[in-house]
């Protein structure tokens, strides 16, 4: 057992961290689609939009753990977590399945995706199908060389600026979860209707919208994998997302912890630094403990992915640990910053708003705990 990152991993992390810090020094969370696209180009210039894609498709060919380290560095030095989330979701839940399961025609999208020119959104969630994805109602009816998509997705991250949607639709209603097929649907196709940006509590740098498919004819060459393999493809992409995407939140927690240490060692009350009060120092100790334990679980889950093992329990434990630590640490940070933390300028309230959805997206904490418990034999 070796808990040390290799010299190359440390060097790569430091390089991305420095590049993000420089490129995003003046960046603030923005919701203007044009500005968001420009931010994506900055992220792409550092290689963040294609890290785990093969070099032949414009990526860096990194494995899961190295991709997680890259996203951790992104979250460490970029305060716009919506951008971090959007880029990670594009890469992990969209580009990865197109690369691993796409036809040659679908894979032609990858160079643009790696370069940040083609932005992708993952279109699975529907009004009546959240955790239970087998309940989706969007259908894809085959007619020769094409499918006709009909249905509506209720929450598609990146949708307002997306150029392609990795879309899941029922092709065999009798086969339940394994009757779902996956498609890479170019936005330019007739019948793709993207709604206005959805007002959200946080992650505002990641625009989201409803997406409707109205009699939308999708060429069969854009199907990912075999017909009926969409459920398995989705689970595979979620393993990547639950592992690597949440590394961005390790970065956020690292940054937040440093801010809290700085704040409590500078701030003086009753004639001494507030860090000198045990109630304060122990709060910071617990924040650090949560961060480090979550980090170990996430690194291990990603390492297992790199060994070709999609360990449901390990991924669920990592996802739960990181998301719950992110929420708890953000509440602690708010307390440590006092009234100033409640004001927008300090950035602490934005961190809290950005962390709260982590226990919901990519599989709720409740579902992750169910998986962990049942895998334990309950």
């Amino acid at each position: 057992m070796d808990f040390e990152l290799s010299p190359l991993q440390r060097e790569r992390y430091a390089g991305i961290n420095a590049a993000v810090a420089e490129r995003f020094a003046e960046h603030e969370t923005c919701t203007d689609p044009e500005l968001v696209r420009l931010a994506w180009k900055d992220a792409a210039s550092i290689g963040l939009t294609g890290m785990c894609l093969p070099e032949e498709h414009g990526g860096a060919g990194l494995g899961a753990l190295d991709t997680a380290l890259g996203l951790e560095a992104f979250g460490r030095s970029c305060s716009d977590m919506g951008l971090v989330f959007g880029v990670a979701a594009h890469l992990l839940s969209c580009a990865v399945p197109v690369w691993e399961f796409g036809t040659d025609a679908a894979r032609e999208l990858l160079a643009g995706m790696a370069a940040g020119d083609v932005i992708a959104g993952n279109a699975m969630t529907e009004d009546e199908a959240g955790s239970d994805v087998g309940r989706i109602r969007t259908t894809a009816k085959g007619s020769g060389d094409a499918y006709v998509l009909e249905g509506e997705k209720s929450f598609v991250s990146n949708a307002p600026i997306a150029d392609v949607f990795v879309t899941y639709a029922v092709t065999d209603p009798a086969a339940g979860f394994l009757g779902i097929s996956a498609f890479a649907v170019p936005r330019e196709l007739d019948g793709v209707v993207v709604g206005p940006p959805l007002p959200k509590m946080g992650l505002n740098g990641c625009l989201a919208a409803r997406v409707r498919f109205e009699d939308c004819v999708v060429p069969a060459r854009y199907r990912l994998g075999a017909e009926g393999s969409g459920g398995a493809i989705f689970q595979h992409s979620m393993a990547w997302e639950r592992g690597c995407l949440f590394a961005g939140y390790l970065g956020l927690m690292e940054r937040q912890l440093a801010e809290c240490v700085g704040r409590t060692t500078r701030r003086r009350q009753f004639g001494r630094k507030i860090a000198g009060f045990q109630a304060v120092s122990h709060r910071i100790a617990r924040m650090r403990q949560r961060l480090e334990s979550a980090r170990l679980l996430l690194y291990r889950a990603c390492w297992l992915l790199d060994q070709g093992r999609t360990d449901v329990g390990a991924i669920a434990m990592a996802k739960t640990a990181v998301s719950e630590a992110a929420v708890a640490n953000s509440l602690d940070a708010m307390q440590l910053f006092g009234a100033s933390g409640y004001l927008a300028d300090a950035g602490i309230e934005e961190q809290l708003r950005d962390c709260l959805p982590t226990t919901v997206f990519s599989g709720t904490t409740e579902i992750q705990l169910e998986l962990i418990a049942r895998e334990a034999g309950l």
Binding site: D132, L178, G179, G313, L371
Partner: protein, 90 residues
């Protein structure tokens, strides 16, 4: 592993994990697991984990489809077939 070895282990796992032990003994080898939603997204993930950890069978993603997971018989045939494949380099 032979079909005779695999089938009862898969049947027991499904009965105990997804059907509260199947107290009425309704689960058969031809019970349509997908159609009756015994195998939903969560249970499929747990079943694949069981196959990997307990039976030491890694099911390739391309083999995770309705034909192979329709019922206990089809799953057992798949698993038995995968265990019969010689390891790389053997």
């Amino acid at each position: 592993m032979t079909l005779d070895e695999v089938t009862p282990r898969i049947r027991t796992f499904i009965a105990e994990s997804f059907l509260d032990g199947d107290p009425k003994g309704e689960l058969t080898e031809s019970t349509p697991l997908l159609e009756w939603e015994v195998l939903n997204s969560m249970n499929s993930a747990l079943l694949l984990n069981f196959l990997r950890e307990e039976l030491r069978v890694e099911v390739p993603l391309a083999s995770i489809n309705a034909a192979n997971f329709r019922d206990i018989t089809s799953i057992s045939k798949l698993v038995s077939g995968l265990t019969a494949v010689p390891a790389e380099g053997a």
